[in-house]
Symmetry: C2
Subunit: 330 residues, 2 copies
Amino acid sequence: MNKKITINEIAKSANVSKTTVSRFLNKKYENMSEATKTKIEETIKSYGYQPNRQAQTLKTNSSLTIGISVADLSNLYTSRLLKGISQAVLDTNYQLLIMDADNHIERELSNLQMLLNENVDGIILQPLSHLPAQYQLLTERNLPVIQVDRYVEPFTFPAVVSDNFQKSLEIADLIQAKSYEQVIVIANKISGISSRMNRFDGLSNALFDTSIAVTLIEIDLDDAWQTHLTSLIQKNIRSAIFALNGQVLWEVVRYLQTKHIQYPDDVGLIGYDDDNFADLIQPGISVIKQEPLQIGQSAADQLLSNLQNNAPLSIENMRIPATIELRESI
Amino acid sequence: MNKKITINEIAKSANVSKTTVSRFLNKKYENMSEATKTKIEETIKSYGYQPNRQAQTLKTNSSLTIGISVADLSNLYTSRLLKGISQAVLDTNYQLLIMDADNHIERELSNLQMLLNENVDGIILQPLSHLPAQYQLLTERNLPVIQVDRYVEPFTFPAVVSDNFQKSLEIADLIQAKSYEQVIVIANKISGISSRMNRFDGLSNALFDTSIAVTLIEIDLDDAWQTHLTSLIQKNIRSAIFALNGQVLWEVVRYLQTKHIQYPDDVGLIGYDDDNFADLIQPGISVIKQEPLQIGQSAADQLLSNLQNNAPLSIENMRIPATIELRESI
DNA sequence: GTGAAAGCGCTAACAA
DNA sequence: TTGTTAGCGCTTTCAC
């Protein structure tokens, strides 16, 4: 059991006080002779000394830790988001405390409470709720918070998200250009999730003045969604499906395959591809690709420059453009 | 700026010493009157008091934190592994400090160093190196460590992995039964990664006494892997491809698609599907599916029972069976 | 240019 | 059944 060495050992061995060692650790070289500086540097190296983070935190009240709360840990969108954050933090002193809400709102709350207990210096939040009340404990603490992927309304914290509304306008154009007469939007429960709502609203708004009908099917609220989908498609009008996220898109593809419903012949198909898999499937599916890595990176960069240089947090939404990749399906 | 309340405020307000409050916090009720117990409980609740973790850690030298080092954060295998760990930790006091080595061995080392600095109580490690030297800093500290997915040899820490060798034996049987004359194994660099080596060795061993040739192509070491693959396939013998992980499988499928090489007609195909996508692709691809969630959970459970109850860590490998799903491709 | 001493919020002997 | 006291490893004020 390797005895942990502390600042005291270093101070003793370097023949200086621990104050001086502490100054060295915190790079306060202004009033330090080159001699002591190098002496301390050498002893630290020779002992392989590493300061105790908890002790530092206890005193300074800054843990050099960024808390992250994600909605659901196990999907590729989240992984890439985390990768982006992780890259941004790489060359800093900050570390990441990642918590998974597993899509349970009570769990998100308890996770946030835990992050506060750990005295994290800032939080990157993919909110599960759209109600500011859920995040009151964060506002109270006056802690820097950045939202990713989604945001709470009224707007409480800055957010970095995809250009969901804008992309849906473009999809609407596409649907009109291809003379579809009906769009079936398939999603998980959209209420309260800004990204999903923006995707839906963008489409609805753009098609409001047209004769194109927009129908929403929320597959986790509707046990008979497959039946509904089939009956909608079988109407004698040109229909297109818009799947609001990757998971849902694959569900739809699976269903169409089993029912031998062909796209684009029987129905047009477009959706979000968060897994980079669309190009593997035949016939090719037109998709929208987001940039979660960049979203994570931007969010972390903003938070870091607030923490490190006291840069103010932007009050606005930052929108990272997604890309539409057209294939045969629509 | 909400003034943080401490154990002192609670003690004062409850008219007891902070020792007593501390006893309460640590559930040492043996010698505590019901009266003081409830009094403390109430004051804590009314103040919304939460003890400072850093102070506790500083004193007890136990951070109630489990460090995790993964090879690469952004793939579904890892996500599901983390989900499993996260679930196991859910109802405990432990938290997770997750670090991504991003497949860089120096980064893994510095991550582990950081985890040690944070005084993590134990580590779950998906090792990048097979050399125990890389992990000497862990052995020195006498810290409980559990490996997942892969392991270091000679065996240093317990490990929870898939039954890679065994599954390859079954694949070998399949290949013989289907009268293939050649197997082309496609992988990322296998040297030093136990999971990949076991998958390859299982197959080689099983086919050693047969006339079936086994060739290995490591796509990240071989710029011309596509050409090599094509030339091997074009020989006038029945060939099968075995892709050693999900990523590689999709690369191969993409390549076969662009070259219009048909499976199972031109070449048999089987591989690991870490993304649960194989059923979406036509023609159907036979795959091996791992249980990363269960691997993560088992690893975390073992570590937790060591930390919480001092249960000894098993010295052996724990193998979680994967499943073979047969479709048309082989 | 450097050091002594106090204290961050908590736990754990030891004492009562 | 409860309290006094010292101290975990560090930072910071103030003094020299």
